[in-house]
């Protein structure tokens, strides 16, 4: 019988230490509060909150979401209360938690990202995640995430101004994800996270209209998992910075798949909508996988797929 008590779920993502490798994916967990009735938030590796911009953003008209085979499209349009609103409405609650708080940030210019990162650092946030890859908003992140030069400049600029762990979230809508991973690493990103949503579209054939008011949206959920795992695996072999893997994780097996492909930690997104206890179920599942396979630390699994 393997002994459960030898297992330590702690992971170090460079300077960022998490009590376990399971975090939430930005935009799928609100600011945490709504899930506290279902799970003990302190059991999470980290909470990554919904993307925050300097000024409040209204978001897109409805319909903003629709279901697709084993997936969903969303075009929320980055609705958020802005930095001040976040600090006033959400931060006090988050500050009471005993888990790492990571803020996903987005801006229309390098300056906005810098301001956000600096302010959040001064507030004691544990890490910021640069959302350079959200495919929903025409301005905002999109140019940064798929254009190597703008991408490099953004990360370098933010890096020079803050010390806190900097996570860059990669867009999968590119020809070569390794290229972006390497740029992020070279520009000083401590961690990369991937994947954001794949750009997609769905049409209601009765109405002959797009199912989303925004026409296109971001595809998430189990449907995209094979693409996400492949990208994590490619990036793991291309860079040395730790990787946060995500895209379609609904079970502990899915999470372990990402870890074997090269992820140091994983983020659970769409699954939170299906089962608000997903994150905890996944933590427990990883624990028992490690226990029955005599794995002492998640890092002993990272990138260990035998090819």
């Amino acid at each position: 019988m393997p002994k459960q008590n030898k297992i330590n779920l702690k992971v170090n993502l460079g300077k960022l230490t998490l009590k376990n490798p399971v975090m939430t994916a930005s935009g799928t967990f609100g600011y945490g509060k709504e899930f506290s009735e279902f799970i003990d938030l302190n059991k999470l590796g980290a909470i990554v909150v919904k993307g925050i911009s300097l000024k409040p953003m209204m978001g897109n008209p409805v319909p903003r979401i629709c279901e697709t085979p084993s997936g969903m499209l969303n075009a929320i349009g980055l609705q958020n209360p802005g930095l001040k609103g976040f600090i006033r409405q959400q931060l006090p609650f988050l500050k009471t938690l005993k888990t790492k708080i990571i803020v996903n940030i987005l801006g229309n210019s390098v300056d906005e990202y810098i301001k956000l990162a600096e302010e959040l650092e001064s507030l004691g946030i544990d890490a910021v995640e640069l959302n350079v890859s959200c495919p929903n908003v025409k301005k905002g992140g999109i140019v940064f995430g798929t254009e190597p030069k703008a991408f490099e400049e953004l990360i370098s600029a933010v890096r020079q101004r803050v010390k806190l762990p900097l996570i860059t979230k990669l867009s999968p809508n590119v020809t070569d994800i390794k290229l972006f991973a390497k740029i992020a690493e070279d520009a000083g990103s401590d961690i990369i996270s991937l994947i954001n949503t794949l750009s997609g579209m769905s049409i209601d054939v009765k109405k002959r209209r797009p199912r989303l008011a925004n026409i296109t949206g971001g595809l998430s959920g189990p449907a995209i998992k094979p693409v996400a795992v492949r990208m994590v695996w490619e990036c793991f072999r291309a860079v040395k910075v730790p990787i946060i893997g995500m895209g379609g994780i609904v079970s502990s097996e899915d999470a372990i798949e990402f870890i074997l492909a090269g992820a140091g930690a994983v983020a659970v997104g769409t699954a939170n909508f299906i089962n608000p206890k997903s994150t905890i179920d996944i933590i427990n599942g990883i624990k028992s996988y490690m226990s029955s396979n005599d794995v002492k630390s998640p890092k002993d699994l990272t990138g260990k797929v035998k090819c």
Partner: protein
């Protein structure tokens, strides 16, 4: 009393074409739902369909919850094939409820199509069902306001005679609805909003004593909007929108209001009609 629970299908029977009455027995004690609340239901364990589906509470007693649903797509088709004894995962009760005034004088209910389900639930919460219904084993939901003496008026629109449901249940609480059908096969021909319009014109003098509660397809609610504005009605409407989480976190289900986007699953589904900005 977690709002995430499993429930056993006790019964899942067709009411009329494409409409089913689903009776669920939660496997644990759940929070008591109020009229206007809804539940998110997993129609099965598969990854397709992926998301839970929202359904209004129709009726609830101690050990059971009932919903009425119409088969419109993949999820509801699978749901209609679930059999007694099957287990479903449920989140709820979710959302706000129809706000009843402390001293409720005159209640006007407006239901379009399946909107009758939550509207009936509201009606039953203000009037006790007749003993005959109680005898049949269906418990009357808790009376919110004991001082209420008035019978609610119900305006009920359906597409056609065959799609009119819940008439026995209405009878049991003594409600005799004004009915219209789009095709004139029952009641007045045409839109229920036009029928209501005449009623309001007739009663315009004391209309501010009335509270209006409406649930139905968006075009119906939209048509109520100018009417309500014109007569300064005290009206609440229950809205629908595609939902992913039902918990207020995905921001998928919003409606534009005079106070910005609001989440139908969280601040709603019931809103004062004058707040809604129709698109």
């Amino acid at each position: 009393m977690s709002r995430l629970f499993k429930a056993t299908v006790k019964d899942n029977s067709p009411l009329i074409t494409d409409h089913y009455l689903l009776t669920l027995q939660p496997l644990e004690k759940i929070k008591r739902p109020s009229p206007g609340n809804f539940f998110m239901l997993s129609v099965d364990d598969s990854l397709d369909p992926l998301l839970k589906r929202p359904f209004s509470i129709y009726r609830s007693t101690a050990g059971e919850i009932q919903i009425i649903y119409r088969v419109v797509g993949k999820g509801t088709t699978i749901l209609s094939n679930r059999k007694a004894g099957d287990t479903l995962e449920v989140i709820g009760p979710l959302g706000n409820k129809f706000p009843l005034k402390k001293k409720q004088d005159n209640i006007i209910l407006i239901a379009g199509g399946l909107g009758i389900a939550p509207i009936l639930s509201l009606a039953e919460s203000v009037i006790p069902p007749a003993p005959s219904l109680l005898k049949a084993g269906i418990k009357r939901p808790r009376l919110k306001d004991k001082t209420n003496k008035m019978m609610p008026h119900l305006f009920y629109g359906a597409r056609t005679k065959k799609e009119i449901i819940c008439m026995d249940e209405l009878k049991a609480i003594g409600i005799d609805p004004v009915i219209s059908t789009d095709d004139g096969t029952f009641g007045k021909k045409g839109n229920i909003v036009n029928v209501l319009k005449k009623f309001i014109t007739r009663n315009s003098s004391n209309i501010s004593n009335y509270s209006f509660y409406a649930c139905g397809p968006e075009p119906m609610l939209k048509a109520l909007s100018p009417l309500s504005a014109k007569h300064k009605l005290n009206m609440h409407v229950a809205l629908e929108q595609n939902m992913a989480c039902g918990l207020g976190t995905c921001l998928g289900c919003v409606v534009k209001t005079t106070k910005g986007y609001k989440r139908i699953c969280k601040e709603g589904p019931v809103f004062p009609i004058e707040e809604i900005i129709w698109e």
